[in-house]
């Protein structure tokens, strides 16, 4: 088995392909020992790797850890508040199913907001008196209400006359004579 330099450089420079067989590894190594071109290439890569390993790890700014921890605490407090506000999210989390609690919370908040607007409208902006416009509005042509003495109402399609019955509610006389 003969190897060309390109192959050696490709597969056996610094980082050996993990799937190489022992036989292949042996062949590559032998080529490397004999070939000056590949040896030079290998040396250069070795130097580059050493440079990469020699540069010191960057040191994080000292305040970074405190900054992160503070933000985690804030997020935690906010999530507790959400939990208190919305029991549905609590149940979903406990059951480990359903959408993200934040989503549930925002949906619930939107629902509460709409409910509040609706209630406010119902309480303050809904007059029970009919407006003057409604009073003068003509009735629909099919139905006319005619008042004739006792007659309550009549429709033109099916004439129906109802008499108002004067109901006499009999007073039950209970005799509780002692």
């Amino acid at each position: 088995m003969s190897l060309d330099c390109k192959q050696v450089i490709e597969f056996f420079s610094l980082h050996q392909h993990p799937d190489l067989t022992n036989q292949e590894k042996f062949e590559y190594r032998r080529h490397l020992l004999e070939c000056q071109v590949c040896q030079n290439e290998y040396e250069e890569m070795l130097h580059t790797a050493a440079v990469l390993e020699s540069i010191p790890d960057p040191v994080p700014p000292p305040e970074l850890v405190e900054r992160i921890q503070t933000q985690i605490r804030q997020t935690h407090r906010r999530s507790i508040l959400n939990f208190l506000v919305n029991p549905i999210a609590r149940i979903l989390v406990a059951m480990k199913l359903g959408p993200h609690p934040t989503f549930v919370n925002y949906t619930a908040m939107l629902f509460y907001l709409m409910l509040t607007i609706f209630m406010v409208k119902l309480t303050f902006f809904n007059s029970t008196k009919p407006s003057p416009v409604e009073l003068t509005r003509p009735l629909s042509p099919e139905v006319r209400i005619v008042r004739l003495g006792d007659v309550k109402h009549a429709s033109l399609k099916t004439v129906r006359i109802e008499k108002e019955e004067s109901k006499e509610i009999p007073i039950e006389s209970t005799s509780n004579d002692f």
Binding site: L14, H17, M45, A49, I55, P58, Q71, R73, T75, H76
Partner: protein
């Protein structure tokens, strides 16, 4: 030492201080990763903070099948990639200007005043060379040489085969070779 996974369990149960212990333990490594990926300390700090916040919020999705640190690295890599994409669009003009300058003067970009970010010229030159690598190569170089991870761990982290890791490392070292040739080892 209490294993990370105990703290993860406590975090899931609602203990934020348990998570802060994990922050204390691992922030330097995530910062190191972010620094090499993003190339400057400010972005690295912000990305580290964002990564831990993201991890805290999605701690429920931790499966206890891998190590916490591996999972944390994955979150960190995702955040860095998002940062990189944002920064790339923001700084494309600046970078090409710096490269033009470097080519026209034949000098190293580390002599450009905007690029004076690292303490020593040598570290700066290495970081600058890494910054110029394509994202995937930069990642394997960082994880293998700076974070001292093994092929298997990198492959798991990046969802690829160990062979891919090896060949990416070879390509990356080859690309860096010409840029770092003249550097001494200390």
């Amino acid at each position: 030492m209490i294993p990370d996974e105990i703290y993860v369990q406590k975090t899931i149960e609602g203990n934020a201080e348990a998570f802060n212990e994990l922050v204390q333990r691992h922030h330097a490594r995530i910062y190191g990763l972010a620094y090499r990926m993003l190339g400057n300390p400010d972005d690295a700090s912000d990305a580290t903070q964002e990564a831990f916040l993201e991890a805290y919020k999605s701690i429920q999705s931790f499966q206890f099948q891998s190590k916490f640190l591996t999972w944390m690295y994955r979150v960190g890599i995702n955040v860095c990639q998002q940062y990189k994409r944002k920064a790339d669009s923001r700084e494309r003009t600046l970078t090409s200007y710096a490269q033009d300058l470097q080519e026209s003067t034949g000098r190293n970009a580390n002599e450009h005043p905007d690029r004076v970010l690292l303490k020593t010229e040598r570290d700066q030159l290495v970081q600058h060379a890494i910054n110029q690598l394509p994202s995937k190569q930069r990642m394997v170089i960082t994880l293998f040489y700076m974070q001292q991870m093994k092929y298997r761990e990198i492959a798991e982290l990046l969802d690829c085969s160990e062979g891919t890791v090896a060949s990416r490392l070879n390509t990356a070292v080859k690309n860096l070779k010409s840029k770092l040739e003249g550097l001494s080892l200390h």
